[in-house]
Each structure stands twice: as C-alpha cells, then as structure tokens.
C-alpha cells in the first residue's frame, strides 16, 4: 500500500538578521496571531528579514527516502523544524499523515534531566503507545543502543554518540510513519553507522524517511530521490543522484584555494596545473579519463646536487590524503628552470571534490624547500557515487560457477 505521507506545497519561512528587530517582529507576529490573522503577512519581507526557506515543494510516499542536501545555511534544518511542527511556515502548506519521529540538529529528542529509561517511556507515550507496547519494545531499544548500565542515568551525562544511538533506537523501534533524520550519523562510529543503515533498510518499507547529511556516500546509499537546497531555494531535485551530487560538488568547489606558500624557498615551484589529455587546464575530470599534472619549478645551481624531489598529495574534501606521487627531478647542469609533466592513464577517483598539494623536497632528510598547500582543486564526475576515494576496477573479472 503506497500512500503519500508527506506533502509539502510552496513552503517558505523568513527569519530576521538582527536580534532586536527579531524580538520586535516576534511581538508583532504574536499580536497578529492572537487576532486570528495569518502568519507571515502577504509574503513581503520586513526590514532585515530574509528567506531562510523559499517555495519548497515535494511529496513523499511510504517506503521512499528523500535525501536533503545543501551547504550549511541552505535551510535544511529549518525545513525539518517546520515538518516537525516546531515553527510555522510563512507561506505554503505542509500535510503529514501518521506519527512523526524526528532527530533534529543532533538533538535526539530527549529531555536532559530525565534518565534514558524515563525518556523512552515519555517519548513512546507521546507517540501514542500504551504501557504494554512500550514494555515489549524497551528491551529491544536498550539492546540496539548498547547503552546498558547507563540507561538509568540522566541523558545530560551521555556523550553525543550515546544520545544519538538511543535516539535512533527509540525513533525506529516506535515504528513511526514519518522519520526525520538530521545529520545524525555525524557523531556515530562506523559500527553504529552500519547498524543504523541496516535498521533504516528494515523500517523503510513502513515509513517515509527524510535524511539530511553532508556525506554524499551515505546519502546516496539510502535515498531514492534527492532535494538540493541552496540559500533556501530548491536548486535541483529528483531521482538522478549522480547529477544532483555533481551540482552540489560544484557549489562547494567555488571556495578559494589557498595561495599560501611555505618552506625554505631554496628552490621553488612556480606553478601547478591540472590538465586533460590535450593539455588544456581543467577543474573537472570524469572517472576513468586520462589526466596530467604540470609543474614549473625553479632549482638554483646551489641546490642542484641536493637530490631534489617532488611530492604531490591529493586529498579529499575533508582534507584526508587519498593519493601521493613521489618522483626525483633529474637535473642538467647549468639549467635552473624545469617543467615537470606527470601523465596518468585513468582517473581512479570516485565522484567528489579533491585538492592537490605540491611539495618540493631537498636532501637526504627531505628538507621542505617549497610547499603549495591545496593550490589546485578539482571535481571528479561519475554516475556512481561511492564511499571510498578510489574506485578500483579489476582489469580482469570473471564469474565461474562451481559444480
């Protein structure tokens, strides 16, 4: 039975930048509300106001999962708070069928003063479960969350990881019709994340899930459609995950890469660029395409016999190194400037954003002559969005039935 559980039509929300004005507008809104007038006026912006969410619409049926992505400040948490009934929309309409469970903004939905056990009872009764039903479920919840002996201790003593584990256990065990998950997997360890994914797969047939995350692999793993928000507006949406994630990546790629330069400068790197197979400078590659890195270096005579080497590191968007390239520079007497050309047959990286750091090293102990950290950034496009930075394809793959 597939029914529409969430219907959002033309929803908008405005906020105010300055606190003083915000409080004053709050008072005005209060007056309007008490007189029975609609919230948000006719859709105009008062001074200092801006649209945190503007004209968002979508529908979600039972068994579907919507991935909500966007940069920080795009309006995702505001949208979730409206879906959860914490704040009123200024325009539009939200219709939700059934019971809602939400883990928003890392808050697991718990009262910090009460113990874990008390919170389970309270949350369950707020969702409409009877004492018998809660008693049946509580052991499963405690076991899933791995809280054990801390279950009778106030939630404010829990680490954020424990809170999220318990919150997730409670929210999914109570079999809601709508599940709102806002960046909950940011604080869990990998074992917990694996359990969560499995639990979501189990429960998704019975509910509609909205999942917010900054981790593209996580989002693509469980979502069957995406909604990309930017500055409160819908930038892209639909079931084409690879395409929408590429757009998200290109949004974040506009950050300025550093023009910093470090090292003793006994020798210098003059320029670094990333090129395609035709030696055109590019900022985007497709997985599997050939590419090249070009560096121009200046090696003064004084250090030419100090065994100059080039070390290039490629890092992902979290600045974790994913690849390195080390090579010696063969110098010829009398020549001080060299162009280095490194060609690669195939881009091995998964879809995502990466940065290049170039290091020039001298001497047996690898003295740093020059480093340009994150001097070049590039995006890799691919229809498949995977977990790991490198996507390896075996050169030979066969499947053979065993008797």
């Amino acid at each position: 039975m597939s029914d529409t559980l969430i219907r959002v039509e033309g929803v908008s929300k405005k906020f105010c930048r300055s606190l003083k004005n915000s409080l004053w507008y709050g008072l005005q809104d209060l007056g309007q509300e008490l007189r029975g007038h609609r919230h948000g006026g006719q859709g105009e912006l008062r001074s200092d106001e801006f649209w945190a969410v503007h004209d968002i619409s979508f529908e979600l049926k039972r068994g579907e999962c919507l991935g909500l992505i966007g940069r920080n400040g795009a309006g995702k948490t505001t949208l979730l708070r409206m879906l959860n009934g914490l704040i009123k929309p200024d325009q539009g309409r939200i219709e939700i069928r059934g019971r809602i469970a939400a883990l928003i903004a890392l808050g697991a939905g718990f009262n910090p003063i009460l113990t874990g056990r008390e919170n389970i009872y309270v949350n369950a009764s707020l969702l409409g479960l009877s004492k018998h039903e809660i008693a049946r479920l509580i052991d499963d919840i405690i076991e899933f969350s791995e809280i054990d002996e801390f279950i009778d201790s106030p939630v404010q003593n829990y680490s954020s990881g424990m809170q999220v584990r318990l919150g997730f256990a409670v929210a999914t065990a109570l079999r809601p019709d709508v599940l709102l998950l806002d960046e909950i997997l940011a604080v869990g360890d990998s074992a917990f994340r694996a359990k969560c994914f499995n639990r979501i797969q189990d429960t998704i047939t019975d509910c509609a899930v909205i999942f917010v995350s900054h981790s593209m692999p996580q989002v693509t793993r469980i979502s069957d459609q995406l909604l990309l928000m930017n500055k409160g507006r819908r930038l892209a949406s639909g079931p084409d995950l690879g395409e929408i994630i590429a757009r998200y990546n290109s949004l974040t790629a506009e950050e300025a890469y550093t023009a910093r330069s470090e090292g003793s400068h006994k020798a210098t790197i003059e320029s670094v660029s990333l090129c395609d197979s035709l030696s055109n400078e590019v900022t985007e590659l497709s997985h599997g395409d050939p590419f090249a890195i070009l560096l121009n270096t200046h090696l003064p005579k004084t250090i030419q016999h100090s065994d100059p080497r080039i070390l290039i590191t490629i890092a992902d968007q979290d600045d974790s190194p994913v690849a390195q390239i080390s090579d010696r520079i063969d110098v010829q007497d009398g020549i001080e400037r060299y162009a280095l050309y490194l060609h690669f047959e195939s881009t091995p990286f998964n879809a995502g954003r990466y940065s290049i750091t170039a290091n020039l090293l001298l001497g047996p102990r690898g003295e740093l002559a020059h480093r340009l950290p994150r001097c070049v950034g590039f995006t890799v496009r691919h229809t498949f969005v995977g977990y790991a930075p490198i996507l390896l394809r075996p050169s030979h793959y066969s499947v053979r039935p065993l008797a």
């Binding site: 709050g26 209060l30 008490l34 007038h37 325009q91 219709e95 059934g98 019971r99 009460l114």
Partner: protein
C-alpha cells in the same frame, strides 16, 4: 486499522478553526500528563538534593518576613492595626499564603524559560511544562502548609472544620497565580524586562493585600485593599485555616470565576504564541 492522524501546518492562525484548536488543547493536556509528572519529580528531587538546607528553603522567606514584621511591630517602629489572630500568626500565615501565590505566578515563565533547548528541538505537548510547574508548586505548598499548621497549633489556634475548605483556598491561589503568570509568559519570553517588572509589582502589591497588614477600616487605603482581587483569596484562606468564618466569600467566588476564564484565555494565547516564540528564541 484506525485512520492515521493527519497533521497540517499552514500559516493560518489556529483561531480560524476554534473547534479543532480546543480539541487539540485538551488532548495535549491529557497526553502531557506523564511527561509533566516525570519532569516535576525530577526537578524537585534535583532541587532538594543539591541544596544542603534542603526542604528548609521552602519556608525560609516567610519565616524571615514574619520575624522582621513582628519585630517592627513590637518595637513600635511600625504601628499595625488589630488582628483577630496573634500578630505573629497573622503575619506568618499571610506570608506563607502569599509565597504560594508567588510560586504559582512565577512558574509558567520559569518553566518555559528553563525548557528553551527542549522546545526548539522536540515536539511535545507544551501543556506538560505548565502542568509540571503546577505539580511542583503543589508539592512546595504542601510542605509550607504543614509547617504553617504546626506553627498555628503551637499558638494554640485550632483550625476546626474550616480546614476541610482550606485546600480550596490553596487551589484558588494557585489558579489565580497560574493565570496571571501565564498571561505574561509570551511577552516575558521575548523581553526579560517583563519578568523583572512583575517581581517588582508583586512586591509592592503585597503591601496592598492583607498579608502583613490587617484590612484598613476607612479611607483610601481601605478602598485600595477592597478592589485588590487578591485580598479575598488571602483573607478567605486564612479564615478557613484559623477557624474563623470567611467574610468575603462571594467576592472570593467571583474572583475565582474570573480566574477560570482568564486561565482559559491565556492558555489559548500560550499555545498560539509557542511556534512564534520558538523561532525567535536562540536555542
């Protein structure tokens, strides 16, 4: 299978469909009972566990007030009229009753303020906060009243049958306190001045109510005391407690009736205000 509950959020004010709103109000009140109880138990045990003087704090203010006023009156610094009861008993009972009223008055704003973090993240029946506050006030009132009765017995004052009516007096104090407290809560959440102004006002008002002073017989002070709606509450409760027959009973009933109406109105206002307050609160 029962029809699933459909929740709709629009910019429209809830006042546009009053029937739905009233049904939701009472449903939330019922749904929030368990949460309210747990919150109240938790808060109270936390409060008394961390304070060395513990339960003593419940009546230390009335006690000091009484000692001060008895001293002032006996030393002749302040001339106080005649009271039917021994003056210390009069003052002590008055200040205890007044402190119960003040507890109830401060409770809605304090409860809502204290729950800012929760309100911004959790969707739970807001009535649970108010109910938890009332439970806490009742608990503190019970302690104060036990002490009060013990003190009166020491003075040789026997409450008699009036004691059966006395809980009504306490409940009415709590009713009126909650209604007024809830009235100022929405604005008090936005601007902190409101809470402070109210404290100042109530301090002043105490001297216009027969708490430490007996009812003046004539002149404009008498008129002020008469029109003060808190007067019949204090007087009637004290009369029931001390075995005297209450004089202002009809006034008492009128004030309580008005308080009921006020409570309903401010309850509606509180519900309507909540989403607006949450978006303006930094939590």
């Amino acid at each position: 299978m029962t029809e699933p509950r459909i929740t709709v959020y629009t910019p429209e004010s809830s006042l546009a469909s009053p029937g739905v709103m009233i049904r939701d109000m009472f449903r939330d009140l019922a749904a929030g009972r368990e949460l309210a109880w747990r919150l109240a138990v938790r808060d109270t045990s936390a409060q008394y566990r961390q304070a060395y003087l513990g339960i003593l704090w419940a009546f230390i203010m009335p006690l000091t007030n009484t000692v001060t006023w008895v001293f002032l009156s006996q030393a002749g610094i302040v001339t106080v009229g005649d009271t039917a009861l021994p003056y210390p008993a009069y003052v002590f009972s008055g200040t205890i009753l007044w402190s119960i009223l003040m507890d109830a008055l401060n409770s809605p704003l304090a409860q809502t303020n204290g729950a800012r973090a929760m309100l911004a993240k959790l969707n739970f029946p807001r009535e649970a906060l108010l109910l938890a506050g009332i439970y806490k006030v009742l608990f503190n009132a019970a302690i104060k009243v036990s002490l009060l009765i013990a003190a009166l017995l020491l003075f040789g004052i026997n409450p008699g049958f009036g004691l059966l009516w006395f809980p009504v007096g306490i409940l009415s104090l709590i009713l009126v306190g909650t209604a007024i407290g809830l009235l100022i809560t929405p604005v008090g959440m936005l601007y902190t001045d409101v809470g402070r102004v109210l404290s100042l006002l109530m301090q002043f008002l105490m001297y216009l109510t027969p708490v430490v002073f007996p009812m003046p017989k004539e002149g404009w002070p008498a008129m002020l005391f008469q029109i003060n709606p808190l007067t019949p509450l204090i007087l009637t409760s004290r009369d029931w407690l001390t075995g005297l027959s209450p004089v202002y009973l009809d006034y008492f009933l009128v004030v309580n009736g008005a308080a009921f109406l006020l409570l309903f109105v401010v309850w509606v206002a509180y519900r309507l205000a909540m989403p607006i307050l949450i978006e303006r609160m930094s939590a």
